[in-house]
Symmetry: C2
Subunit: 340 residues, 2 copies
Amino acid sequence: MPATIRDVAKQAGVGLGTVSRVINQSPKVSEATRFRVQQAIEELDFHPSPIARRLSLKKTLTIAAVAPFFTRPSVIERLRGVELTITGTQYDLIIYNVETKERQDAVLESLSRRERIDGALRISLTPSEEQLARFQSTGIPLALVDVNDPHLDSVNRVTVDDECGGWQATTHLLELGHRRIAYISDPLSGESVFSASRQRFEGYLRGLREAGVEVDERYHIHGEASRYGARELAATLLGLSDRPTAIFAASDTQAIGVLEAARDRSMQIPDELSIIGYDDIEIADHLGLTTVRQQLFESGEHGVWLLLKAIEEPDAPIINDVLSTEVIIRRTTGKVPDTV
Amino acid sequence: MPATIRDVAKQAGVGLGTVSRVINQSPKVSEATRFRVQQAIEELDFHPSPIARRLSLKKTLTIAAVAPFFTRPSVIERLRGVELTITGTQYDLIIYNVETKERQDAVLESLSRRERIDGALRISLTPSEEQLARFQSTGIPLALVDVNDPHLDSVNRVTVDDECGGWQATTHLLELGHRRIAYISDPLSGESVFSASRQRFEGYLRGLREAGVEVDERYHIHGEASRYGARELAATLLGLSDRPTAIFAASDTQAIGVLEAARDRSMQIPDELSIIGYDDIEIADHLGLTTVRQQLFESGEHGVWLLLKAIEEPDAPIINDVLSTEVIIRRTTGKVPDTV
DNA sequence: CTGTTAGCGCCTTCAA
DNA sequence: TTGAAGGCGCTAACAG
């Protein structure tokens, strides 16, 4: 039977209101009594019941993170950031894994009750306008991580500057002398698309434009987001008579597929073909893959900050926190071949 | 301001005890009043406050899952099972990501307070005897998933019959006529080892023994658990003058490394070399990798059941739930080469 | 069967 | 500065 605030009060010979004040760091307590109370707390190994606090404070001290667990290793990395950051606060974190539309709606429904959470974090999952409107009408604070869409400027969010990342990747290749640069990605439009791929594409186009390089439509192809999809796409590209000398893949996973396609043709990397990915996932280092690093862990961290801020200052202005990207040069990119 | 039980009582013209009874499906309510109350509940869109329930029931209605998020894709799959199963209950799930020893102790410390959780689930993380003893002394129900160690028979747990899985893999190869069968894994002894690899090895040995095949020490090698580690190990094996005709890898990830080593030597699979993995991870299907499937998702599911049972019937006997394994035959195993 | 009452453990006025 | 009292929303025991 754990000690309650009442036991502590008795032990310290004070009223239980005083104990509460000590717990909550209220300044209106004399040093002497505070000390007595502290001592009693330790003697009894007292820990205030979070549940009773919640009821009294009318807060749940709980926040929800809604994310598609699996889809990408990057989501897990973001969740790591969220989890570790929450640990330093008084909040509990409940993760909801959302893989289907039904589940998404169900979770949204259950979260909509103010009784359950103080705030929600949505990760790598673009809400429909309807979903968003519905949720916002509940008044529960919300923050978005890795969700970037025009109709979202009424919500706190942390995004990655993917347009810039695309530009950086392209510019890196241009500086190495490449002119025939291809872009491989998952589909840029359709249902439940990762908006990031589109933005990376925009950055790619800007890079080419700025360098005065003509855009060749045949060099932009997209397909299934997996490594295998990318492998096939790359095979197509490499079969062209004037094949690209460099390929920019929208993710490291896809870049690995490109690597495999090159290996299938026994091409030397980077002598015959330069390859750059995106994300800097764990394995990239091992592969020597040049890539655009984005701050996955940090995005989770920032997301939590934004959400806590939205909870504590509901009327603060909306924040769009944009994280930077950086090219990590490894061994899959090099000067354009002379012979081309 | 959400409706409370009191509002409902007033609206339905009954006492609030009656409303509580209706909510909790108590049989001692007449059809007529139950109907009136139900109606009032719907009209007011009333949802009982979980927090108030908790305080009153003296339960947290929360369970914790402690797991190393990353280490393996398999852990995520198990967590999926846990999450989905919890969703069907009244409990909330809090996932604690534990990557370091410090964090492990910290989490244990915070969980040890009865105020926080009704039960804990530990996944793919072997506790030291001391940790276990300390936790059990708190009286909080505990269940283990994918943790199998001799000193753990005082705890509910769900494990996989890895010895059998190892035997199945080996037997499959033996039936194809192979006799020179190698086993590649991560280290079988040392700090914080995955006990599963050792058990798979035992099964492998039993399979050979039963078939009357002599065990060749040179065929058991272990190293870093990654794909790259396995690739190197396999390269060594394939460099032997009487190289194995089949390789059993302790995980699919490692089997992929073996595939790469074979490709490095331009060997035909399965004509020149048979390869079998373990886990049946998502990508295995795509690769055509023959493997031993274990029930990852289900292990999470069972873990939750065991834990809930331990919570509801604290005095029930200890359960060790063993999940079965199954060989999934694909395209990386075949008859032993004639020429050998 | 149903209404009433007394807590669950804590926070927060309100007086003193 | 401090103690006492009232209440957060719900459950459960007790009369009726």
